[in-house]
Amino acid sequence: MRVHLSVLKLRMNIGMQYRTAALAGVATQFFWGFITIMVFEAFYEHASTTPPISLKELITYIWLQQAFLVFITMWFRDNELFDLITSGNIAYELCRPCELYGFWYAKLLAQRLSSAFLRCFPILIISFFLPKPYNMTMPPSFLAFLLFLCALILGLLLLVSISMFLYISVFVTLSPMGSLLVFSVLGEFFAGLIIPVPLMPEWLQIAANVLPFRWTADFPFRVYSGHISQHDAIIGIIIQLIYLLGLIWLGRAALNKVLRKVVVQGG
């Protein structure tokens, strides 16, 4: 745990040094948030039927997306971890096959956490102070907020367990990246990044609910705004846990299977 804390601190140090990069990143995300909200504003103006989610709830949804973007993106766009693993350090890591899943999991988790830390606070704080109607709003109750935190953390853990499959695939089996790009884009789509899940047509929403992707982002965000009732939220959290445990179990099995093959082939 201490290792991860110091890694976090180091990363924040480095983050601070690249002051322009930090500012630029936040600025970019604000821009994206704004455009998305403005487009929805325009859609909502003359909506023919009452939309399944109110504009206010949608706005919190979008700002939460931007603040916690790193909890959604499958293919971790920060190249650091990518370079670290491809640069050959993997050779050292393969020497400890038993704990490898846990070790990598912790590393990915730390990466995402430290990256989220730098970005989420400025975005969230500033978005609260934006002029109406663009501003972020508080959750309807304290309980909703607690449920949101719980769902968010589980969502992060779930996301990391999903992205473990990506990394196992690339770095152990060395499969080509193009196909994984497609997989990650699909994952992001079903997490509601391109079109919020409640606005999808019925048939697509069913698919989204079955797949694990929306449980990392769409679900916690709607718990926050109250769009998902507290009762449904608790059921949802249980579903998150089920997915999480299932994916971790599958992930470990897959990794062991693949590693055995690699070891047999002589690495």
Partner: protein
């Protein structure tokens, strides 16, 4: 100019060395804007229209902008990736060759895999055009073409500006994505759906409007007026690249007096 095609040829040969990777990345490049378009389609299914614009009208807008973006990504990739050129000292190598820095940076990269996005936008464009009721004329067709070409110039201009930034700092360049990726995401809708100040900024400062709603009104027959005037609007937008080139020259001068 001929030297540019020689550069293209060597990049083509380079990328053909990695054939499977090429096809897979191209597929990915097709798929990403495809999901964005799918999102657009579903949103229209939900809402029906956006501030007066119907689905196929917006699809036309989408197709044009994405095509311009895809083409500029192909051509100006050298400027997009310029930060690595400066960081590893390769730009010095360019200064030691008897050609302008502009053509050398332009020729330093050309990613053929971006054709995936190009294909996707072409499909959208054709679909939109076949489903729209447009009274075609030569002028309208030329305008459409000019919209695309000007879009390329605008995006390329932004890439050049971004690359020039690299002479001062290689940090924080992410900001430029606001205008390239962000500009594309924004301009895929007709710009007048946004607040007035947004529309104004992106018509007069970074002239996306000249390849977006202004000539679009004309092509869709929603406006009447001097035909030639509408044809010239995108041309005016393409002039955007000229100040960008001047800024580039200034940047090169700065680099050569302060080192890296």
């Amino acid at each position: 100019m001929g030297i540019y095609f020689k550069y293209l040829w060597i990049h083509f040969k380079s990328q053909m060395e990695y054939r499977t990777s090429f096809w897979l990345l191209s597929m990915g490049q097709f798929f990403i804007p495809f999901t964005v378009f799918a999102g657009l389609y579903f949103l229209f299914e939900q809402f029906g229209q956006i501030r007066g614009w119907k689905f196929f009208e917006v699809a036309l807008c989408f197709g044009i902008i994405h095509m311009a973006f895809a083409l500029s990504e192909c051509f100006a990739r050298g400027f997009d990736a310029f930060s690595s050129l400066v960081r590893n000292g390769e730009f010095d190598r360019l200064l030691v060759r008897p050609r302008t820095t502009f053509i050398q940076v332009l020729g330093s990269k050309f990613e053929f895999t971006r054709f995936g996005r190009l294909l996707q936008s072409a499909v959208v464009l054709v679909w939109a055009l076949t489903n729209l009721d447009i009274e075609w004329s030569v002028v309208k067709a030329v305008t459409l073409l000019l919209m695309m070409v000007s879009g390329i110039f605008i995006f390329t201009g932004i890439y050049i500006l971004a690359a020039t930034l690299c002479f001062w700092t290689i940090e924080g360049l992410e900001v430029v994505n606001i205008f390239t990726d962000g500009g594309r995401e924004m301009a895929q809708y007709p710009l007048n759906i946004y607040q007035k100040w947004v529309t104004r900024f992106f018509t007069f400062v970074i002239p996306f409007g000249t390849v977006n709603y202004l000539p679009l009104f004309y092509i869709l027959g929603k406006n009447s007026g001097n035909e030639i005037y509408y044809m010239l609007i995108p041309l005016a937008g393409s002039l955007f690249i000229l100040p960008c080139l001047l800024v580039w020259q200034f940047g090169v001068k700065h680099y050569r007096s302060t080192g890296s």
